[in-house]
Symmetry: C2
Subunit: 245 residues, 2 copies
């Protein structure tokens, strides 16, 4: 018996998110199906980030146990031959038998992209949220600064979370303009349910002038979801890196 960790990239457009559910295809479901077929065992992977419907990933993680003799590094090749083209394993390697991706220290980096121009750009539509309302990225950057560090992010968490504590640490949160796109890049030790999308929605409110950047401090203190901005749409969000420390 050995435990294998996969680094998994996917285009989330056609999936109902990571987690297996009764109706609709999921990333976890595709991995379970293809691994079980390949190995002739009943495989159930354990995921790192359980991303929502429509969210993309360059490097989410999944672990599973197998009796197979295949060298750990070969799983990526074998799986990529069988997976649909919108899911691709970037790396496979053996990890200790007690390793669990959500019960270890890790750093996750997410990007939220906004295409901010008069009209939508078709080639960007699946990977960036479009708004024609002009956004001032300096105001967004000012607002973002209040979120860096260890805070109780209860105001930035959708109802229905199973998390025991809503305290998380954001190591870095940058807002950059790349041509017509504004990119919010955030790294933290963990993110609550919808946290990155609520951060993006709140920074967008600051960018369009509906919110003073300094109000973000008050929103944190209120510990009330209703005080923060709306949950920004899923298509703008990409999990870029899930780094095991």
């Amino acid at each position: 018996m050995k435990r294998i960790m996969l680094t998994v990239a996917y285009d989330g457009t056609s999936y109902c998110g990571w987690q297996v559910q009764r109706n609709g295809n999921t990333i976890e479901g595709e991995l379970n199906r293809v691994l079980s077929e390949l190995l002739g065992e009943d495989i159930r992977v354990t995921g790192g980030s359980r991303t929502d419907s429509g969210v993309h990933a360059l490097g989410n993680v999944a672990v599973f146990d197998t009796e197979a003799k295949m060298p750990a590094e070969k799983f990526s090749y074998a799986l990529n031959q069988r997976l649909p083209e919108d899911i691709r394993i970037q790396e496979s390697r053996q990890v200790p038998p007690d390793f669990h991706p959500r019960r270890c220290f890790s750093k996750k980096t997410y990007e939220y992209r906004i295409y901010n121009a008069e009209f939508p750009m078709p080639v960007k539509r699946l990977y960036a949220y479009f708004t024609y309302v002009p956004l001032d990225e300096r105001r967004m950057r000012e607002a973002a600064a209040f979120l860096i560090g260890e805070h109780d992010f209860k105001s930035f968490c959708s109802a229905g979370t199973a998390a025991e504590s809503t305290v998380r640490t954001i190591y870095d949160l940058q807002v950059c303009r790349e041509g017509e796109e504004i990119v919010i890049r955030v790294t933290g030790n963990g993110f609550l349910y919808n946290m990155v999308r609520i951060i993006a929605g709140t920074l967008i409110e600051a960018g369009r002038g509906n919110l003073e950047p300094a109000e973000v401090k008050t929103i944190l203190e209120k510990k009330d979801r209703a005080c923060a901005g709306p949950t920004a749409p899923a298509n703008g969000l990409t999990l870029c890196q899930y780094q095991i420390l």
Copy 2:
């Protein structure tokens, strides 16, 4: 009667190219359909670049004549409400009644993207050609330099072209690496049938070491399509700009 010019952006993934054909949807066909519905006239647009199936555009151009009283600038809004989400008008304006997009001086800029890594990246798959064979972008840049300027590009043109002359001028041709991607960016006064894709295919051959960069000079002189590299796949190609001078 007035003549309107549209700047048209599209994701070419689901289309059989620009030009109307009997089987399958085309960009030109969608524009004709939506314009005719909107205006109650039988509209047939004239396109700038007749891009192939799977090729994308940030700014192709199309012109048409209409009796409509709608101000030229309003067409972009009215059309975008009716077009499928993978086609979006970026600008509409009135042009002189004798203006023809292919019979005027113009500069076109194309980008060819290559995703060069061990495994494909799902979110890049529709907009970049994937190859795991390592490419040396310095060799590609060296090869590219021989193509800049006025040349007879007969070796870089697929059979069946209707062009009277195969002489074209390339103003600029750059090869840059952006992370795992190699971007070929070329600007010229016009491009022959499949010319950018054959240039990309030839530079890829130089990048993988199958061709010496200096051989590109000989390939030009031979004026024989068989001497150049293969036609690189359509998905990597995007028409970035069609500038009327």
